[in-house]
Assembly symmetry: C2
Homo-oligomer: 606 residues x 2
Amino acid sequence: MLSYKAPLNDIKFLMEDVLDFYPHFEKFPEFEEATPDLIDAIFQECAKFCENELLPLNQSADKEGCHFENGEVKTPKGFKAAYEQYVAGGWQSLSHGLEYGGQGLPPSLGLIKSEMMGTANWSWAMYPGLSHGAMNTIDLHGSTKQKEKYLTKLTEGTWTGTMCLTEPQCGTDLGQVKTKAIPNGDGTYSITGTKIFISAGEHDLTDNIIHIVLARLPDAPEGTRGISLFIVPKMHSDEQGNITDRNGVVCGSIEDKMGIKGSATAVLNFDNAIGELIGPENKGLECMFTFMNTARIGTALQGICATELSYQNALEYAKERLSMRALSGTKEPDKVADPIICHPDVRKMLLTQKAFAEGGRAMIYYAAKLADTIEHSKDEKAKKRADYRLGFITPILKAFLTEVGVESANLGVQVFGGHGYIKEWGMEQIVRDVRISTLYEGTTGIQALDLLGRKILLSRGKSLKSFSMEVLGFCKDKSMISSNPHKRQMNKFIWPLSKAVANWQQCSVRLAMKAKKNRDYVGSASVDYLMYSGYVVMGYFWAQMAQASYEKLAGEVENRDFYRAKIKTAEFYFERIFPRIKSLSATMMADPKSLMQLDQELLSFL
Amino acid sequence: MLSYKAPLNDIKFLMEDVLDFYPHFEKFPEFEEATPDLIDAIFQECAKFCENELLPLNQSADKEGCHFENGEVKTPKGFKAAYEQYVAGGWQSLSHGLEYGGQGLPPSLGLIKSEMMGTANWSWAMYPGLSHGAMNTIDLHGSTKQKEKYLTKLTEGTWTGTMCLTEPQCGTDLGQVKTKAIPNGDGTYSITGTKIFISAGEHDLTDNIIHIVLARLPDAPEGTRGISLFIVPKMHSDEQGNITDRNGVVCGSIEDKMGIKGSATAVLNFDNAIGELIGPENKGLECMFTFMNTARIGTALQGICATELSYQNALEYAKERLSMRALSGTKEPDKVADPIICHPDVRKMLLTQKAFAEGGRAMIYYAAKLADTIEHSKDEKAKKRADYRLGFITPILKAFLTEVGVESANLGVQVFGGHGYIKEWGMEQIVRDVRISTLYEGTTGIQALDLLGRKILLSRGKSLKSFSMEVLGFCKDKSMISSNPHKRQMNKFIWPLSKAVANWQQCSVRLAMKAKKNRDYVGSASVDYLMYSGYVVMGYFWAQMAQASYEKLAGEVENRDFYRAKIKTAEFYFERIFPRIKSLSATMMADPKSLMQLDQELLSFL
């Protein structure tokens, strides 16, 4: 059975000691209630809900799955009750605007809440999670009337929402969308088409589901420039928000998947369903992309959630399971064998998980602060800066953290040996659940093209330059030439980090030059380039966490072991994980010829 | 739906052009029938059986699983019929001795047969596969009477066999085995205990199952030196081999697993089951280990099988699925988008699979030739040399090929995007099925300790020296200073390969020295060291395949494209995969301190 305890100490460390969340909140008058006391109290409540209500449904939901019959979906046992408790607790409204019933707390806190819930039970957390996307769309692009009609219900959690993008013939390539929207003459539209892979597209948690649908108006231009966005509710409602009759959208089936089995993935058939246009005609994709970054950070989270859950359980197992004697000499002579945590390779696997969980958490929280600024700052320049930075870091977070999440979950299975393969323990479920994360919301390959092609090359390296200036600034500030009292200890992090950043810049310039002559360099380098970037960014956060820990240890602090452990984990990261950039640095620069020269007919001779 | 065609061209290429199987067979008079014509005919029949009978049961068996009721296991629909066809076709007896009804063909051919069957349906193939282990044990250590009683039935396939090692408290650490064997005074023993994770431990394919069981005699020494080996049949039989009554072994349950669901993994309860001692008292583990290498090669095969199956299906999908335009310019203007195989990163994933499948196949066939020599050579020196070499290369093959098998299967899912996550396509099943391969028959960590601790350090590097002399000999022989007509083209492989081998040797020496002072170096370096070794060994075989292809192309040969494709795949391997050794080379040398310094209580602060 899986166990989970919310990492409240780590959350506090990041918010207070590393990322200065409270000075950050103080910049926004509307966040004046977001004090350490309130937030501690909220997170403690949240932890209880996750540990006591969501976690126990994690493995049972995987076993049971969702049930589909006659267009209706029944979620696994306990999901509905947990959702009702969630709504009653006001969790859905936590970081949404006061205007439509939200509690107005910072978006970053909503993300931290999502992390805990997603770790305890990712499948369950997808139902409320998808709503945030729909809410953001309506909030940013909806008319006042639309906001009044939909946003209040969604903020309460009385209704949930979805994003309907994918169709059978296209996922990434949304220019191929075929779903049609025909004006009815009364301001509404008749939507007809098939959408697939719609998470939370049908379920029994709420009476209504608000679909945000990509579709084409008649005579719309071909491709991506002819797509508009529509609100299509499952049920119509009257002025008072009471549900009236059924709209023309029906769930045709749900997918039988590798994992996240408690989360219903629906095929939705729209047959002259009544919809409302949201945002300008033919600008549907632009509207969608305005909050794509936040959605993708929400998916990046899954990598961390899987890593944390797998780590916590692998660690306990490794302390208990007895096998062989330590090569360096018997550790527990009174037992039949030593616990496997004595073996260096088991420790390597555990520390890899630990380094990814904690390093990734820092990366996510950094992005969450940017999201606060983007959504709440009155300073247009600061807002733009944050948006630019978030745009740069998002593909790295999404792809890198989900890839290392898959790796970590697999390491968790490996620590358990053969038992890791048995369902009962839950470790293999984490592997199956997290496997989707490198696929949805843009595959790793798509994130990598976004990073190298759009964010780096199109900006002529500006976004990288600005980020690497930040990192190098930190390095200079903490290094031998500075007044940092911990500079001697920090050197082991600063030196490889600054070297790696310099190489990152150089490789980027070289790739830009090569790509001018041969566009295939972009695609051939992209994934290795992204993973390189990920290790460097994570290295930056590990260095910051080490610096913060040295600072705390220099003062009077109670939980000294906590800070010592951070520093030692940083050492592990830089010695055992960071050198992965060496290989990536070589392979990303390889000529695309080795990929492109083989005619596709010659790839197999069967 | 998964498709599969046996790679007969690649098998032929390896046997004839690269690894000189026929001159090798000629060394053994008993293999005189193993001519190219006969073998081609056998493999064509085998391919038909795999493609038409086994493959169609692959996904349905995953869906259905095995059924357990009252101690009995029902295998998935179609398994029994396929098994009967297999036995009727004489497939089980292919490479077993004539004396007990075998066909006496080389063991290497048995392995190639197992590869095809395992690719088409690994779960099914485990039932006859496990028998080979039992047969080898009886063949090597059984008395004439035991051989007569059991070997004929097992060779026919009328009965199957198992290996019963693992118990709830121990898998790797067999010294903890508790199952007891009490002498009955009549030469038989009463076996009592619980064995878990017994593949093919109970099923409905045959009327009898012969268990080979590790157990302790009364007053046996503690630990590994007090374990003996027993033959414990599920059903007793009379002198004529007719089944009589039930023995005291009952299947208590079967495991609910991540994958290989068609393969029953049994908990076996032995309650005063009657068994016969096989081999000397207290020498059970030694007896087991005599054929552990071959068993592990059989498991290494799973990495290749998964890679091949995933590659074949991903390749077809990549040619058909249309998404986006190639960055280097539209490839298919008359279609709505270009097929995804135009995108460099998709090609990178496919070529990675291809390089691992074909490179891994060469490694396995090399090992298979060694097995022929070990089992059939009359030249004791040659036999010993082969055994030594196989012992060195086995942990590399087992761990490296299964690790890259897991990677490849995941890449196959990634090529399919979101569809890869849906069961229907079968791609996610390959990931689930192959995931067991790095766990059973010794985890990757155990293989790595075997390699670095036993095979390298205990032999003072002799085994590595002898193998690397072979590789460096090849390098010298094909390089610029030789008379090789293809030396100019071969240089791009020879140079990095010989450099990597030199570094391999240096690192080994340095690790040996460090390990003398600190034993934890062995465990901390081991897995990275093993993976480094794997990439180098695979590089050696890719270089050999390239050389063989150049040689073929220099002559009059029909399928020139086949050889060109081999060379280009070798180029891909050396440019995009081989550089992974750079990072491994760094991390394996890191001080174990970064793994060991954190007290286990400080690994978490929840």
